[in-house]
């Protein structure tokens, strides 16, 4: 088990390193004076030309590429990711305000995706190619093929405009202090869009996982000794098929984040997705860089954690 964990760590570390290259490449692509994305705007305005030259030297901006990268990386790991050229605030502060809304959205969406996708996948596996299976296959293909923003607009059209029962966007009522009940009401449509979009792949995984378990020797034994279909499904099928779920949710996180970028835009949800789009529209390098590095690090760490957790949950992996 220890070797397995060490091997996975050995894969994660170089990947994390390569991500910093991607982030740095992005910054290097940005036009204009790199100083503006690295220093406080007010301080920058007050600087004399000599001080600017000094600052450039301190950041290694005139040095060869590897040296620049090294200076930047040491700043990065100390939490100094630079400044937004739009607001002039540190990029990290800018992102900090947006983390909570995005987390609310992601957690709600995962809950919906699991609650919808897993039961449907398992039901579909009971009779492969049966009516339910075919219907669900069709629904899953339709869900995967329809762009998230279209699903979002249709839900706004139905629930906010025609029926007028749910708010069309935002996270609360303008002019009122934020309240949990309002946040909940505003979160329903966006998390439904994001959750349903990811229920389809989860159902697909749950179905194939369940089919695999049902074809195994121990299920045949259970059937041979006369256990009822229900007992087999619940005790043997479900328990074993739910193991890979941890890994699956971890694997879905990149798709969820991509979906969140679009969903937040459709519903004016004030999260990181909206921030990354607005900073792309205004070509704000430090904020974009910080967000993609953050997302990548989280995804890699979550996958690492899922793999390690999996070893603890599945006794078979502990032996080999």
């Amino acid at each position: 088990m220890a070797t397995l964990i060490i091997r996975r760590l050995g894969q994660a570390v170089p990947s994390l390193f390569i991500i910093t290259f991607i982030g740095f490449a992005l910054l290097s692509l940005a036009p204009g004076d790199p100083l503006t994305a690295r220093l406080d705007r007010e301080a920058l305005v007050r600087m004399t030309p000599e001080q600017r030259t000094e600052a450039r030297e301190a950041l290694g901006l005139d040095e060869p590429f590897p040296v620049q990268y090294w200076h930047w990386l040491t700043d990065l790991v100390q939490g100094d990711v630079g400044y937004s050229i739009v607001s002039g605030r540190p990029a990290l502060e800018e992102i900090g305000d947006r983390v909570e809304p995005t987390l609310i959205l992601l957690v709600a969406a995962i809950a919906i995706a699991v609650a919808v996708g897993v039961p449907f996948g398992i039901l579909a596996a009971r009779r492969p190619n049966g009516f339910l299976d075919r219907t669900l296959t069709g629904a899953a293909v339709a869900m995967i093929s329809t762009p998230t923003f279209i699903v979002g607009l249709v839900l706004i059209y139905v629930f906010a405009i025609r029926l007028d029962v749910l708010p069309a966007g935002g996270m609360g009522v303008a002019g009122e202090p934020p309240s949990t009940s309002q946040t909940f009401r505003h979160a329903i449509l966006p998390s439904l869009v994001l959750g349903l979009a990811n229920a389809a792949p989860l159902a697909r995984f749950a179905r194939s996982g369940m089919l695999e378990v049902l074809a195994s020797d121990y299920v045949r034994t259970a059937r041979a000794k006369g256990l009822s279909g229900r007992a087999i499904m619940m005790r043997h099928g479900l328990r074993n098929a739910s193991l890979p779920l941890i890994t699956l949710i971890a694997l879905l996180i990149p798709d969820l984040v991509a979906g969140a970028v679009i969903t937040e835009q459709v519903f004016a949800w004030p999260g990181m997705g909206r921030l990354v789009v607005s900073s792309a529209q205004s070509a704000d390098p430090a904020v974009m860089m910080a967000i993609i590095v953050m997302v990548a690090v989280v995804v890699i760490l979550v996958n690492l954690a899922a793999d390690i957790l999996y070893v603890f949950v599945d006794p078979r992996l502990r032996v080999s």
Binding site: S15, A142, T146, P147, I161, P254
Partner: protein
């Protein structure tokens, strides 16, 4: 993206069997749903590429006396807020989708196949670098990656194609690497090696031809993803710029609640067409996967 990797991997479990093209066509024809999807794609391609030459389509002509109108005989799907014909713009928008989908995937297939097969065949440091780069790039959602890199570039169709093409190769590389590694240990490659063929010739003559099946699957599903990306970029205001028609940009009109509520003919046709286009590509891709990996055949994967 996970969907593509999984689907491509499904074809790997098979030994490289020589299935004739005739069998393949017969199997695809047996799946009537996939056949209908393929027919729809052919029809759309004809409309999009030949239609503008033979039909009286005027996607750019504004008509100030007929703004924001519902469907009529003159304008089958109505007009937009500048009085432009929605039908013509949908056709041209579908053309943009198809061009971006096919070209972007063509670019990343070349890059991904090259890097993946090199990593799988050579192993060692090359493999380490390619595999870890793939992991790193896959940990950032492609939409996010494309969004941030496109921010500094001149907007347009070519930019969208290049950005998706240059950043979308990791799934292809991962599949190709796995396929190459399993091929490397197969008897006919070992035989080729023993008979003294150079690495270069083995790669070109034996490894690459046998990668065709998984690559066809990855490519067909990838086209759907690329079309969705183009539309999403259009929606975010980072993709193709007006007046070039793009289905994603057309749907974006519905961000205005008044249009969303009162003028469904402006945003519904491009929305439906976009979904149908991607669905057709995905259905054909799924059928190809089922046909090319017979072991999974029959249980049309959910």
């Amino acid at each position: 993206m996970t969907q593509e990797i999984e689907a491509g991997a499904a074809t790997l479990s098979e030994a490289p069997t020589a299935r004739r093209a005739g069998d393949l066509l017969r199997d695809i024809a047996a799946n009537r749903f996939a056949l209908a999807a393929a027919a729809f794609l052919v029809l759309m391609a004809l409309l999009a590429f030949i239609g503008p030459l033979v039909l009286p389509l005027e996607p750019y002509k504004t008509n100030l006396s007929r703004l924001d109108e519902g469907p009529s005989w003159d304008h089958l799907l109505g007009t937009d807020q500048s009085g432009r014909d929605t039908f013509a713009r949908c056709i041209l928008g579908a053309r943009t989708s198809l061009i971006v989908g096919f070209s972007a995937v063509a670019i990343y297939l070349v890059i991904g196949t090259l890097l993946g097969s090199l990593a799988g065949y050579l192993g060692g440091v090359v493999d380490m670098i390619v595999s870890r780069t793939v992991d790193a790039l896959l940990s950032i959602p492609l939409l996010l990656l494309v969004t941030v890199f496109i921010a500094f570039l001149k907007p347009g169709v070519l930019t969208v194609i290049l950005v998706i093409g240059l950043l979308g190769w990791p799934p292809t590389a991962r599949i190709t690497r796995a396929a190459t590694m399993s091929l490397r240990e197969s008897d006919f490659i070992i035989a080729a090696r023993v008979s003294g063929l150079t690495k270069n010739r083995i790669m070109r003559g034996h490894v690459l031809p046998n990668l065709a099946a998984p690559l066809i699957v990855v490519a067909s599903l990838g086209i759907g993803t690329a079309i969705l990306l183009e539309a999403a970029l259009g929606f975010l205001g980072l993709g193709v710029r007006p007046p070039t028609p793009s289905l994603g940009v057309m749907v974006t009109e519905a961000k205005d609640p008044v249009i969303l509520r009162n003028s469904p003919w402006i945003w519904m046709p491009p929305a439906v067409l976009l979904a149908l286009l991607v669905m057709a590509v995905n259905v054909v891709g799924d059928a190809l996967r089922d046909v090319l990996s017979p072991r999974q055949g029959g249980t049309a994967g959910l």
